[in-house]
Subunit: 270 residues, 2 copies
């Protein structure tokens, strides 16, 4: 059973004038909540704030969102997933932003997905999506509400054994999965796609970049072809809900190493 | 005073699980309504249907939307503007589309904008937006709810004398305005940008392509540079609310001919 708050209240619904609905004019975050406390909140809020800045949208204060979380996730609840949507606010028809607009916030509570054990043990299967991500430097990295490319990608999956897929850009460079970032390991070097033209720069991706050194790994953010990924010693994906999963296969290419995701999950403490 | 219907009812709001809000997973149309009757409904519905098809989204039957319009726009109302939003429906967190999903529809009534007289007489001023439209062939032409590029473009306007701006693509080709399509006339030839990689293919654009012959004009849809537009004999923009407006100036380039938009408005009967 999911429940939600709209601007901190148990309201029935969102205004049809909300620019999140009209234009996807907003941003969101998804993260876990333990006993009423959001995990890695500083990093989550910083990313939310930065994404709002990218859209020139007023981000509500951290304290306001934390009060919503306390209200919706009582202290005795087990591990849950929170999704926060911040939109620019309501306006009448037309793209112009009224001067006095005030952002809307939606907080949604849901259960942790019931991942099969083998996702944690051996990893997940990925296909290669046929849709190509478009290039928009002004929105690259931002977790905004314009996610039709992810929706169309996800609709390509028909095989229930397929967890997700690899999204490529117009130049056939690997960018991410539909709901996760992706890394390849070559010996002691991690490579993750640079996200200056498209893709979402997730908090867990950023955290892995920060802690990789503790595992004796260096990290580079650069353009990567699918061929390069397929020749990696190990591939894993990450997001703020499951932490990290190794990748068993990308299409027909299988990977026999899968120890890193488990180590990362422990260090990430998701 | 604006009012609205959600799935045909005078509901308070839209579900926070609506994928229109979460992902911009839907399409919309804006058109005028005279005495409770939507203008050029066949063309509007056909475009709505085609756009739904592009997103593999179930379009509600024409009759259902017409019943909504009758309910929200009584016969004695003067000329109004209707906006119809169709989203894929509600779903829990995640991009995957549930099998039994049912589309949501929102119908919003608003007044006709109070355009200054000189928009009809001499035309409007356009700037050139700095944001470039990204290229996504799977979504090009579709009036979907992922409109952040339009929002960011509109936010570039600070001069109140500026009605809108010209949106260029990554190759600096002219595509459209933030809320209108655009045409250039060279002698008896109309040129309008081809919209195979980005842009919205509006109903009024399509209607002008169909009726241009009646004015002795041929029409070509092709790639156009801004320089080419600036050298035109006449430039005009169009949408389903105002019909057509001539363009007085694009940035520093002024146009001295402006008779075509008035003729088109008469023929379009918007």
């Amino acid at each position: 059973m999911e429940t939600y708050l709209i601007n901190g209240e148990f309201e029935a619904g969102v205004s049809p004038y909300d620019r999140g609905l009209s234009f996807g004019d907003g941003v969101f975050r998804t993260f876990t909540v333990s006993n009423g406390v959001p995990n890695h909140w500083e990093a989550q809020y910083q990313k939310l704030y930065d994404d709002c800045q990218a859209l020139k949208l007023k981000c509500p204060f951290s304290q306001i969102i934390l009060e919503d979380i306390v209200k919706l996730f009582p202290k005795d609840t087990t591990l849950k997933v929170a999704k926060v949507i911040i939109t620019r606010g309501n306006s009448m028809r037309g793209y112009a932003v009224p001067q006095n607009i005030s952002p809307n916030r939606v907080l949604i509570k849901s259960s942790l997905p019931n991942y099969p054990n083998n996702y944690f043990e051996q990893g997940v299967n990925l296909q290669v999506f046929s849709i190509r991500l478009s290039s928009q430097p002004l929105l690259a990295g931002v977790k905004h509400l314009n996610r039709l490319e992810n929706v169309l990608a996800r609709m390509e999956i028909v095989d229930s054994e397929m967890y997700d897929g690899v999204l490529l850009d117009e130049n056939n460079h690997v960018i991410e999965c539909s709901n996760a970032n992706i890394f390849a390991r070559f010996n002691s070097q991690l490579i993750t796609p640079s996200l200056t033209k498209c893709g979402v720069s997730g908090v867990t991706r950023q955290r892995i970049i920060s802690i990789a050194q503790l595992l004796g790994l260096s990290v580079a953010q650069e353009s990567c072809t699918l061929e390069s990924f397929n020749s990696a010693d190990e591939v894993f994906i990450c997001n703020s809900v499951f932490g990290a999963f190794n990748v068993k296969a990308i299409g027909q290419t299988t990977f026999s190493n899968y120890g890193l995701a488990a180590k990362l999950r422990e260090m990430l403490n998701t």
